[in-house]
Symmetry: C2
Subunit: 501 residues, 2 copies
Amino acid sequence: MTRHPAVVPAPAMMHAGDGTFLLGAGVVVGGEAAASALCTELLAQRTGLSLEAGANAQISCTLIDDGEPESYRLRVTPEGARLEAPDAAGLFYGVHTLAQLVARHDGEWILPAVEITDAPRFEYRGVMLDVARHFHGVDTVKGYIDRASALKFNVLHLHLTDDQGWRLELSSRPELTGSGSGTSVGDKPGGYFSAGDYRDIVAYAAAHHMTVVPEFDVPGHTHAVGLGYPELAAPPAASEAVDDAVAEFGGGMPTPGVPYIGLAVGFSSLIIDSAATDEFLADVFGELATMTPGPYLHVGGDEALGTPPADFAAFMARVTTLVAQLGKTPIAWHEAGAAPGIAPSTVGQYWGFVTPTADSAEKARAFVTHGSRLILSPADAVYLDMKENDSDRLGLTWANGPTSLERSYRWEPTSIIDGIGEDAILGVEAPLWTETIVNAADIDAAAFPRIASAAEAAWSQPEQRDWESFVVRVGRLGPLWTRAGIAFTPLPAVQWAHDEE
Amino acid sequence: MTRHPAVVPAPAMMHAGDGTFLLGAGVVVGGEAAASALCTELLAQRTGLSLEAGANAQISCTLIDDGEPESYRLRVTPEGARLEAPDAAGLFYGVHTLAQLVARHDGEWILPAVEITDAPRFEYRGVMLDVARHFHGVDTVKGYIDRASALKFNVLHLHLTDDQGWRLELSSRPELTGSGSGTSVGDKPGGYFSAGDYRDIVAYAAAHHMTVVPEFDVPGHTHAVGLGYPELAAPPAASEAVDDAVAEFGGGMPTPGVPYIGLAVGFSSLIIDSAATDEFLADVFGELATMTPGPYLHVGGDEALGTPPADFAAFMARVTTLVAQLGKTPIAWHEAGAAPGIAPSTVGQYWGFVTPTADSAEKARAFVTHGSRLILSPADAVYLDMKENDSDRLGLTWANGPTSLERSYRWEPTSIIDGIGEDAILGVEAPLWTETIVNAADIDAAAFPRIASAAEAAWSQPEQRDWESFVVRVGRLGPLWTRAGIAFTPLPAVQWAHDEE
């Protein structure tokens, strides 16, 4: 029996047809070079078949003149598969859809007949990787680009700096990595990206139709800055909120000048009202802007728990204005919405809960009031480092306790914040914080399958999203993920498929 | 029904017992710190269970006073599992055996009752990764260490240099990487390890009980040296053997001073009789010796097809003597056996076929005649980059055509070279050359499952090795490999298992 086609994230329109197209050694793949090469590679990885490249192709990838950016049309009949898109990104997404359609049927590899018309709901579809709490090297980041782009994410946000380390080498401030990158959480080895490493990542992301959004998190989360530049660091703050964070996450308070290897947050700050700090910001964001071809620079702004509100507001206004003057669009975590003077173009990233507090909703709405938009990262739905069960080895539980796959799936972007509808939402982003995540296998185990929930929230139209359908469709990706070396967690909520013999 | 325990490589002695030990949230793991932490991690990765650490453990890992190096005893009963070993490596191997025993039974995770006494056949059990043809970064190398050490390999041989690039930064000769590392085969991006990267790899290998054997391949395979140091490079050699290699592998002859991105071999050489070359060798092997805590330095010596035999012999004598004087044991590919003056401690690495030519057998025997031993890497059995089928996307076929899993398995080390028995064999090594292997997923697809054949040739006693048993045992590792994110190729010769619900 032919299986019903299963695609994640759900396409805008999909109709199953009659029959199947048989994949075999004689099948020819042709058309646009990058897309047909990717198609051959993905089909080989999935099936072991080595298809031919050439003209008169049964599987064709063609650029056409009309259609929205990133959209595609895919039609599979018993005679072959025809993919059309107006741009290279659309072909790329269509090829990944085609690879998901491959199935085992009566001992043969087939594509089920289907007609798909697809385009994204949101223009910004992000994943974030924290390379500061534990450093993750170039190969691991490339692997995450492979994984995320296959689910039609188009932004890689790199959280490059935190109390535990500064992970991007800058010629303007060499001691940031020279003194500030030697360790990770738990005194594990540190590390950093050279300028060449960063260029390599940006280029690899671009080849996978992803934009890199680099983040230097200021004014808090900056203990590591003080290791190389002690004149910039305020003394560790002692406030009730900081005490609570230290008590909840552990690792104690830091000692100035000594690398921080604990998990607490909120204690550190750059000195706010200082010409040296302004010079530092101009250096590091200036250099970052020249290294970054994409339109966004993320300035952080979260959890500055020990910084007085007026100081925080003044600082966020200055740093977002600086980034705007550098010709980039600033992004800040939603706390910066409390700063009335932020650059009006600043995009807010909301990381509160699916049911917001009045305070976090108000701060998030401020970005829209200023004329910009929001990225939604509700922590109790799309923070990929949240545990599924209390007993899990990896992950944390502070975001409303463990997060089930179902909870990660069942939320609607326009229903989070009162007054924030479709037009005010730039997109959806799924962060992966790495306090407990040490290597590539840990990243996979934490992110998969929950990353698929976030992919569907970012790409699929609300009327195509359905939990019962999702657990079947995700389960059908199991063999594809296994062939790609993705160490996903086989959650029991999913009906995991195996290839028939 | 309880499954019969399946372990790869096959242990020296294994008896199945009655019943099973039930793994569940209440189970406590204790004993030696590193082994019990690894055990908890591997069981969590395999099952999702987060076991407790502590005293009165049902799963215990204990150092004892007697036993051969790297050996262990493991006894599983319905009450628990007791692992004992005389050293940390033995505990490490015992834990990996235990992780392989985990099975799904009536909806629960269990260990079958079993008694295992195990120790390696050969002291040198190696994998080689070519980071020269395509560069593979630190994370990918660490991932390969994870994978190989879990199969009880204890040597990582890094092929650090070749015509296509020099991949280790040296302060004595900065232009080796400054000018000689920018590209890979097919004009893909290059790369290199900094000294810190190399230290990081060596430390990670040591933590996984693997010794790093670094190779600078001389006098041939050195086109990249001439990019930064043209005064050291002989003109590309034109000989019949070189012409044949260029015709077979493609990519044409190189141009001096221009990076080589083809696949041919044999055309390049350092200038042999030159004070500048001797100074270069003293610099690079001297620096490599100080960076390398392990006992071996590999000097290459293969495929110097354009170098006159007398020159080659003189050169290999000089470079092996240099390495011996640096306090290290030289390793050379078997061609160096033709050089009568090589340092007597030089270990030979045989890379001919399972059925040797008279010439290659004679050269290999010379190392033993000199008083040293051999590492066996028969190319038509354990070269992991050989294709399984002609139509495969990855790999080459020059070693007697495609290599089936069965052919990779069915060979016996003492039956390869006449006169070379157990005592003359230091060990077995499985190289992975990367002309066609671009990233970590490619490495997995090429190496797995064939790497398991090599593991068994290196570790297991001949009387425990059996092809029919092997294909069942390897198939039982499928779910374990999937959970570890290993993108193995699901060859049809193997009976791949899936976890029961």
